[in-house]
């Protein structure tokens, strides 16, 4: 799964019937520092996310699982809204644990 920011809504009237009732969102994947990484993509929303929210999404066939048994033809799906996240800078060496004897 990957972190992303919801940057827009996508509207399509003519679409695969399995998409009926679902929301299409435009996502911009982000890194651990919150900055944009890679190209925006369209994903199906399974959790009720909206523009401006940070979410995590799943890629691949699994993106359609929240809509089971309907087979929604999607390769990306929002499966969670992020309340907050923290990350250490990966360029810094890990701090070794201190053991007290």
């Amino acid at each position: 799964m990957q972190l992303a920011r919801v940057i827009g809504d996508v509207v399509a009237t003519r679409k695969d019937p399995a998409f009926e009732g679902t929301t299409l969102l435009l996502l911009q994947p982000i890194g651990s520092d919150g900055k944009d990484v890679g190209r925006p993509l369209v994903a199906v929303d399974a959790v009720g996310a909206g523009v401006g929210e940070t979410v995590f999404f799943v890629r691949g066939k699994e993106a359609s699982f929240p809509f089971h048994p309907t087979e929604v033809p999607t390769d990306a799906g929002v499966v969670g809204i992020v309340d907050h996240f923290s990350a250490t800078d990966s360029t810094e060496p890990p701090i070794p644990p201190i053991r007290h004897r």
Binding site: I7, G8, D9, V10, V11, A12, T13, R14, K15, D16, P17, A18, F19, L24, L26, R39, P40, L41, V42, A43, V44, V51, G52, G60, K61, A63, S64, E71, V72, P73, T74, D75, A76
Partner: protein, 89 residues
């Protein structure tokens, strides 16, 4: 899923039998503002799209979940025609 612009049609007489009577289109990915970028791809059209339209393309194994595409050898399907993309600044 990708946003893409339809830039052409593809015709193939000799093809996998499971692809018979499917329409092939040539598409090029676009960014949310509509600027084309990246490489061309061939996708099966399941929604009667045409040249010049902006469409939604599903790729990978999920493409086989598009309507009528079960067990067909595809990795890109056009599953929607985009009306609007709303990106608040």
């Amino acid at each position: 899923m990708l946003l893409a612009r339809i830039v052409g049609t593809v015709v193939a007489t000799r093809k996998d039998p499971r692809l018979v009577s499917n329409k092939l289109l040539l598409a090029r990915p676009v960014d949310p503002k509509g600027t084309v970028e990246g490489n061309y791809l061939v996708a099966i059209d399941t929604v009667d799209a045409g040249v010049g339209e902006t469409v939604l393309i599903v790729s990978g194994s999920s493409a086989r979940m598009a309507s009528g595409m079960k067990d067909t050898p595809v990795d890109a399907c056009i599953v929607g025609i985009i009306d609007t993309i709303d990106v608040p600044e």
